[in-house]
């Protein structure tokens, strides 16, 4: 089977089941919404403070979204005993990874795009920012989280205490993504000059590239047996 058609098939499969059940996106969305509520109750967020903290809060919410959503990547396969079929299929395992990655990435991004306007609403944020650039940062950051998350999610299928182990393994490794994403988002929301946050966006891109490649090469190794 053609490499790219495998990727397309997996995305189509996951997308279709998601469209029918809307399980993943809705659970991610509502969980992130809940964290926003909790922020409001636990932090003294007047308009000025909210403006300063907003980038960090957004990405905390997105990280929790990632932990919830990505941890469930292979849940459907495991619960329905499809995992063996997937593993034994005569397709390049790297394509499997990329397909899952793309699917996860799209789900997360959808939830984030739905969430962000609500964020602005609840915190009364003033946003005079380039939406294209903001979307770029969301894309690159989400891609980084999804790259790590998809890999570890595949690992966790066979591990005890998977709900706990998944964030423990994934989040320390995601530190550069979080720092860069928050700094870039802050720069864009505050309307700072490109020079101030441009390097963070480059860091995100480089991180994504490095870890997608590494995950691509080691995915087969994780899946065998």
């Amino acid at each position: 089977m053609n490499f790219f058609s495998v990727i397309g098939l997996i995305v189509w499969k996951d997308g279709l089941s998601e469209l029918r059940s809307r399980e993943n996106i809705s659970s991610m969305f509502f969980f992130a919404l809940l964290t926003i509520f909790i922020f409001n109750f636990s932090l003294p967020l007047d308009q000025r403070v909210a403006q300063t903290l907003a980038p960090g809060l957004i990405w905390i919410a997105f990280s929790f979204t990632g932990v919830i959503g990505l941890g469930r990547s292979f849940l459907a396969e495991r619960d329905n005993d499809c995992l063996e079929a997937l593993l034994n299929a005569p397709v390049p395992k790297g394509a499997l990874y990329l397909g899952k990655l793309l699917g996860n990435f799209l789900f997360m991004l959808t939830a984030e795009v739905l969430l962000f306007p609500l964020f602005i609403l609840f915190f009364n944020l003033e946003v005079n920012a380039n939406p294209g650039l903001l979307l770029l940062v969301f894309i690159l950051g989400t891609l980084g989280l999804a790259a790590l998350g998809t890999l570890f999610s595949a690992m966790m299928v066979q591990v005890r205490a998977r709900e706990v182990m998944f964030p423990i393994l994934m989040l320390p490794l995601a530190v550069p993504v979080l720092i860069a994403a928050v700094q870039a988002t802050a720069g864009i929301l505050q309307g700072s000059p490109w020079a101030q946050y441009g390097s963070w966006i480059s860091l995100l891109a480089v991180f994504d590239l490095i870890f997608i490649v590494i995950a691509f090469w080691t995915f087969e190794f994780i899946l065998e047996g």
């Binding site: 890999l151 393994l169 320390p172 490794l173 700094q183 490095i210």
Partner: protein, 231 residues
Amino acid sequence: MDLLQKWRNAIGMTAWGVLAAGLYLSLVWAPADYYQGEVARIMNLHVPLAKVSLLAYFVAFVASLLYIWKRGALADNLAHASVATGIVFTLAAILTGAIWGKPTWNVWWTWDARLVSFAVLLLLMAGYLMLRSFVEERERAARYAAVLAIIGFIDLPIIHLSVTWWRTLHQPASFSAKGLSIAPDMLAAILVMTVGMVLLYVYLTLLYCRKLALAAQLAAKSEQRLREARL
């Protein structure tokens, strides 16, 4: 096996001996620092511990690569032992660093690149050991752990870089431990302590490898027994 044990014991005794000598040099022989006073002596302990922590993770990284390449039990045991030993050194490094930081900078902790990297190192090592204990099959545990070690090792410099950039935004690099010039007497003491710590690391890793090998032998023996009993 006997020769290996003799070597291991020899390395162990040498390590403790060198450390005792290093203790004498650090605590008695070298003069107190002009600026920091007695507290600078903690650096003689902290720096070797930190160096050995990174050495331990590097060894685990190389051993993990070897395992992916060759699949030998030896490489896997080495990676596991290196992390199990390394985490003790990492914890000690972080604690001694905090104890040094309080009288020197009046803070127990600060979020600069070096400390964050070490905190993440501790988390990575702990995650590695947890992963190994939570996976039933030995072979699968080895594979997963190898991937984790490799990804973690590659990520560590990226984490250090991103935190360094982040810190230069908020304040200029004022707390640079590198900026401290070390008196030549202290340098000799640090060198001796470093040699001692490396030897100790080697001894402890070999010991842990031995423990893993024994445990594997024991597991194989009891499995053999079970099979015979069933027959």
